[in-house]
Amino acid sequence: MTSPRAGRALIAPPPRRSAPDALVVAPGQVMPGRAAAFPLRREGPAKLTGEAKYADDLVFPGAWYGATIRSTEAHARLLAVTLDPEVDWSSAVVVTAADIPGQNIVASIKSDQPVLVPIGGEILHHAEPVALIAAPDRETLRRLKGHLKLVTDPLPPVFDPLASDHVFAAYRIERGDVAAGLADADFVLEGEYRVGHQEQLYIENNAMIAVPEADGGVAVHGSMQCPYYVHGALMKALALSPEAARVVQAETGGGFGGKEEYPSILAIHAALLARRAGKPVRMIYDRHEDLAATTKRHPAIVRHKTGVKRDGTLVAQDIEIVMDGGAYCTLTPVVLSRGALHAAGPYRCPNVRIVARATRTNTPPNGAFRGFGAPQTEFAAETHVNRLADALSLTPLEMRLRNVYREGDVTPTGQVLRESVAGEEVLRRAAAAAEFETLRERTKRARAERAGSTTVPTGALRTEAARKAPGIGLALAWHGAGFTGSGEVHLASVASVELTAEGRVVVLIASTEMGQGTNTIFPMMVAAALGITADEVEMAPVDTALVPNSGPTVASRTAMVVGGLCIGAARRLRQAVEARNGDRPFAEVYRADAAANGATRIDERFEPYPGEPFDDATYTGDAYPAFGWAAAVAAVDVDLDTGEVRVRDVVAVDDVGRVIHPILCEGQVEGGTLQAGGYATIEEIKLADGRYLNDRLATYLIPTSLDAPRISTILVEAPFSGAPHGAKGVGELPMDVGAPAVVAAIHDAVGVWIQQLPATPERILAALHPGSGGPAS
């Protein structure tokens, strides 16, 4: 008889252990005590042969093509939408706000964003949808689009988030006495840090196809992270019952937060057109429209005033955050909340004040992007800590080791870090693996030699080698696992595992695969709990007609929260089946049990994790059930003549609680590290009058294989006891830590602090040659 424990070899119950005992996996190695082989990506063969069907690959016979008519003004009153009377409109359908059967609102946190701007309403950004049009073919659509005109009356726009008086959200976190702490400090450092928009740049653009149903309902098939967000939005705007709105996820070509909320408005648009036309309607954005109109990472301005003792001990942190929400609220309150909760960095400090607000500007709405507010504020926090270390003549490692959170420490919200605290572990691992202190000595000598040399020429006479200044930088981050504060309690997610009457084991969740590995790790987790192989576990199609609402696929919550629910459901299923089969193992009896007893489905609903409940009113309590920890060491070369930065190597060390699939987990760290590298060096959106100037892939740059550093990943496991498998999530962690590491490396190379991202050649040269507008020749 198989021991009931045998099946748990992959995912053992997490022992309560502190960080120093954490299990560390070097790249390519398999953890001791785990099965040697991990399943291959489940949908991998379909993706590799071209058989996987993304939204634009789906064929709906007779489908029409839809398009969005957008404002071209940042702020205006809409007076009229006119159709050229000289043109034959009979072959097309046009939809305006007057045609919306339900509420003219895109369901989100606040009810402020219209599906389409109504006549007499205010246009709040230049890409705002005003009307929709669909036609049987692309040529007709293109021709007719130009004959639909908007009549508007311009209004004064606001572009500066600091000047805006429309506040979407504001928070205040306070612990201790900041004024007294600053007065008591030996040294006080102030700094302002700015970050701009960043585009998620999934390679598959937003795409949705709506199909009208005979009973008046509508089904949408598309690229998305959160089917039930889309479902809720359809119900509200089209006044549909839950059954009449059906949402099916197509294969999704990347999301990174960019398909968290945006698909809701796109699905409503497609559904409105489909119902009007009585035909399926395809709305497949091209790259230009996707860049111009969809959500970006929130720009932020973060100010720090920090008091320290001579030995580097933090005594007071006074932090102000202003985020630019764009024209509508979208998810801004929760982005700001996460940003504020991470703003002090992973450091013990008795006196902290964090004051945060997000305001409205007449630019396209900003939204979710991997890290969700934390990369912005942690860039500021880490760069500030690096500047403090520099000012105190401490190494960045010493400065952090003096202050990093350890078990039992208390965060600014009063949360006691009881377990799974691996900041020191990831820090030491990263510094050791990258030989940080040794290499830093070497770059320091290179800098000194350059400064003291009378023979190394400057400017155009420099040799190729002499132009390159090497630098190395370190950063540390924490990332709250799962939804912020009371978020998971409000979500009340449900996940199901079913033993079907045919004897199949099926996982039913609304959590989407978008590249991160959901389809592969859920069968592993469920199989381990049932004592069967992953191959025996199927994933139900992500279709709201079939799967329960397991919550959105965001916040690095899928493996931890939904994974935990599925393990819970699987354990209960196993118990039920084994109990009625004389305690024989599930693996031996489940097929016969299904034949005899029919289907058994277990629904598992989220129960709050242990800890102090979070108080949304006072911003105190446990902001997250646990934190993931990440450290990165970046090595760069800075070209002294051009200011270009080449990120050569990154050592990324991430504590994810429990690694479920090392290859997929490494893939998350590598991808996130490169996105952070892009954020640090090249990714920038330029605006003029509230419009993105570089709204094409030819002008919005992301790193290519030649820009990408060699990334070495080390995974650390400091499991979280609140989740049955100990996982804390991985997706967002690497995004928090890459940019400050690169900026620290630039300082190490050339001695200037770049306090505004990205660290472009222009900004580096301006810092190196202040007042000259460029390098001295």
């Binding site: 291959l40 990506r41 949908e43 991998g44 063969p45 379909a46 993706k47 590799l48 042969t49 071209g50 058989e51 996987a52 069907k53 993304y54 634009d56 690959d57 064929v59 998620q200 740049l201 999934y202 390679i203 598959e204 653009n205 294969e251 999704t252 070509g253 990347g254 999301g255 990174f256 091209d286 790259r287 978008m514 590249g515 991160q516 590995g517 290859i663 997929l664 490494e666 893939g667 590598e670 991808g671 996130g672 590290t673 490169l674 996105q675 094409r696 892939l697 030819a698 992301i702 290519t704 294989s705 030649l706 990408a708 060699r710 990334i711």
Partner: protein, 158 residues
């Protein structure tokens, strides 16, 4: 409309379309080969990369008239097919095993870039591989595992 004839994945095809129709649209819509993806439509991302007479091209930038009489190879032509069952070729298998495909949308173009590199005798050196796929954007992987996968195949061929 003009008739254009060329080979796709070893089989002859014939399409009656305007000569300036993008090869990408001919493949995806007229021939139903949706494995080739559109990411930007302006030759920046490489998601639509295919081989035309052995050369790596972005199918969004190639009018079908330029493919007339040519030999086109797409991702659908990589796996060895027998009786409706496809077995991955060495490159596809290496991508699967190393974790080089995540969301998968860049994968078909990336595979074609890698195939062109290997067919041209490219070796397992990292710089050469990175250069060969520099026209193919990936947002998921950080390129690390893609480079590993190609190096693995280049290493076994060499």
């Amino acid at each position: 409309m003009t008739t254009y004839r060329f080979l796709v994945n070893g089989g002859p095809v014939e399409v009656d379309v305007p000569g300036m129709r993008r090869l990408l649209d001919v493949l995806r819509e007229d021939l139903g080969l949706t494995g080739t993806k559109e990411g930007c439509g302006e030759g920046e991302c490489g998601a639509c990369a295919v081989l035309l007479d052995g050369q790596l091209v972005d199918a969004c930038l190639v009018p079908v008239c330029q493919a007339d009489g040519g030999i086109v190879r797409t991702v659908e032509g990589l796996a060895r097919r027998a009786a409706g069952d496809a077995s991955l070729d060495d490159l596809q298998a290496a991508f699967l095993e190393t974790g080089a495909a995540q969301c998968g949308i860049c994968t078909p173009g990336m595979l074609m870039a890698a195939r062109a590199y290997l067919d041209a005798g490219g070796g397992p050196d990292e710089d050469g591989i990175r250069e060969a796929i520099a026209g193919n954007l990936c947002r998921c992987t950080g390129y690390t595992k893609i480079v590993d996968a190609i190096a693995r195949v280049a290493g076994t061929v060499a």
